[in-house]
Subunit: 344 residues, 3 copies
């Protein structure tokens, strides 16, 4: 069961320079992403209609991508524009195309009904486009179902255990902190304030805090990304009254795009407002190490789940936010099913 | 088809120091074995009841094992003893536990009905606990069904061919030697006397024989281990009248515990009564090389069997002892089936 | 669906010196090929009838092959000739044998009804037996269905794209050249003349051409090999009137023998009439590099086809010859089906 009618993150804009192509599988379908020499994006079924050769083994040339086997050419709409050795192009000679566009240095693809693909509904991430912030990102081929990644990011207590050696800090602090969860439409946000906290290592390394700080964490789910806004400032300097420009801030984008039922394109970025003196590099390196801890957990969890389909799962109190997201997702599945049923 | 109601060797006691855990799969079920800080053994379903995380990724702490993901704790009975962040423990929050105990430096686990798990019925191997003997062991992940290993060890003629380069010796000698097979309950023993034999290389290396010797081999199947008692002494010095203390002796334990239908935990030990001057090391090294020859055969045989399910198999005279063991095992399967049917 | 009633290339004669054996899978069946000490060929089911051990793990000794496990022996007819430790040989103790013979340094095997196996119907390749020619060959384990390889070799336009960096030359030339296709029984031949051509690199390296040449290509499909006769000579010196002795010639044998539905033994040879001064080595090396380009394409194509079973395939003009071969093969399938149905 995979949701189709939404914009999925397909990659980063930097993955596709003009004249280049990349092969990716989304929702079990092999797709070739390419950028024409003039800079336009294309996303096509990665299978030539002649003899099933992957188009991604071919070459971008001007505005087309050419199959490497017999030289057949397709434009970004999937139309066959040339078959070497013959003048007539058969009506059946085309490949499926997928809506694709880019925003905030992120590529978005629509794997569902193209008629519903409105770019205005794609998630934004303005920090990628703000020159007062620095950011970096990574594409990780996660061997786990995408929903396990959503659970992981919306759950607020695993930091105490999974990240005990990195950003976790004292387990008890995480359980003492109250979490407020708010749902609006398909968006779920969890807010946590941690006044008078000991700053974690990354905060000290990046911002040079000498005493305690007022920290915040805001985790926003919007299908199918999770933004995490986090930061801290000297105690009593306005963190909870919305004065945060002087604070040390980190904003994360976590995109989870299903490759198959059991594998996920996990694409994440980390941005910070401390952009001088190598700080962004320190932040990125420490976050990278932290996320490695998560992906190891998720892949181990997936292996066990695959071994025990239908096995018992018992909820705990910490599942509140992730369960609200599960409800949102269940509603989206239901809506897709109804739309599909109505169409029949 | 895998037998459940018997004690299987789960490993060696030395595999589990206090405060440690190890992940193993038995009969297709993932199990975490652990030893508490106080030295008690636990064997639990290796899957946290919260989100299916393997408990073997977690940590032993005092008398519990803690899940690495959200810190949930279980004791050796499988009871959940703590869920961080909440006071109430739901009734469904527990994992399955398996009977486990140790004897003669061997760990035994019971994968079937716990009510039938009587430690008195587990095989013994006193040589592991006799300080006049030295022993060493190995755990080999065999890519073959466990029954092929039983066949191999009970069959007395393959030595001539599989071990021609190591302990086999002259093929004809193996066929001239008479084998007496005795069955008592579920135990099958094959006896062979080889008077006036040329001593094999291992015997000469370990005991310094200069002339011919009187040899014996006793192969005892007791579900699901095979003990092999073997040795030799100068001709006419009492080997066949039960006087063997002065002889060179080697005693082997071969345990075959199904991991799945097609893979087996093959755990074997070699013990000897010649414990001085590096002799045990010589014995173990030569036996290890010999067993490598067997496992190569078994894995090749399994590959071909998997390719040709239901293919023709023709018995030969040498199958006598292994066929008696097959009858014992068939009887045990029948008994388990009847018990299961009666329980429904 | 795999054709059974024809002679498949099983390997090269040089693969099997006297006293040697080799394990191969044909049409999903594991076969051991061996040559007795006296030089006779045997092809047996690679599975001992006792306990399913692969006979290819055993040894050839005189006129038999001996199982490595318990020493059971079989001759080249598949008859069991000895069971160590017993005098009687049970009637069921035999393994299947396959017709096998060799011609022109090539081994041929018949996987279908032995009654129909007439060596006179096997393809010939006289260049392997002509001392005025030099040849070399290779066995490639292709991870693709055999029919994709037939398509590749019968199709005359892929050279422009797949081999653009090696023997392809100018794409346009390939499309300008007229191809004449002739079918006789189960044989399909495509003829192409390329007068006044620029000689490709291999031609210049091997024959030292300084100006343009008259080239020809003749591609002959005869189940289940494809012979390619190709060459060139100075313009107007008789290439198209059958005077070719003075020309530079290369003759290829491409044999495609199914290992399974998705894997193929691709065995090819390259022969040339320029046998002095290292020329054959130059030819073979350049052809080898070219064929690597094909196998990469075919394996990528197979992966995509396996992902999209039943997916759309649109023919183009260049498919003429390969489609005629497909018709031949479809007819052979039909004939085998009818024979099988009549036999029931």
């Amino acid at each position: 069961m995979l949701l189709r009618n939404l914009w999925y993150v397909a990659g980063f804009s930097r993955d596709l320079p003009a004249g280049q192509k990349v092969a990716r599988k989304f929702l079990g379908e092999s797709v070739v992403l390419f950028r024409t020499d003039a800079g336009e994006l294309g996303a096509l079924e990665d299978r030539c209609c002649h003899r099933a050769m992957p188009l991604s083994d071919g070459f971008v040339d001007g505005s087309i991508i050419r199959c490497c086997y017999h030289g057949i050419e397709f434009d970004k709409t999937g139309a066959c524009t040339r078959i070497p050795g013959q003048d007539r192009i058969p009506a059946a000679a085309f490949v499926r195309s997928y809506p694709i566009f880019e925003k905030n240095a992120v590529l978005f693809i629509w794997m569902g009904d193209p008629a519903q693909a409105d770019p205005a509904t794609a998630p934004s991430h303005r920090w990628h486009s703000d020159e007062n912030w620095a950011w970096s990102g990574k594409h990780y081929a996660l061997k786990a179902n995408w929903q396990l990644l959503v659970d992981n990011l919306m759950d607020l207590t695993h930091l105490a255990y999974v990240h005990a050696r990195t950003i976790g800090g004292n387990p008890e602090m995480h359980f003492r902190t109250h979490t407020q969860v708010k749902r609006e439409g398909n968006t779920v946000t969890a807010y946590r304030h941690m006044p008078n906290s000991i700053p974690p290592r990354t905060y000290v390394d990046a911002a040079g805090f000498k005493g305690d700080i007022d920290r915040w964490q805001e985790i926003e789910f919007e299908p199918m990304v999770i933004r995490v806004l986090t930061g801290g400032c000297e105690v009593g300097t306005g963190a909870y009254e919305g004065k945060r420009d002087h604070a040390f801030q980190m904003v994360f984008m976590h995109a989870m795009t299903p490759e198959s039922e059991d594998t996920t394109h996990y694409m994440w970025t980390a941005a910070t407002n401390r952009i001088d003196r190598g700080i962004p590099e320190i932040v990125f390196k420490q976050i990278d190490a932290t996320i490695d801890e998560d992906t190891a957990v998720l892949e181990s969890q997936q292996r066990r789940m695959s071994e025990t389909p239908g096995g018992k799962l018992v909820d705990i109190a910490g599942d509140n936010a992730s369960n609200q997201v599960r409800h949102v997702i269940a509603g989206m599945f239901e809506a897709e099913r109804n739309t599909a049923a109505a169409a029949e």
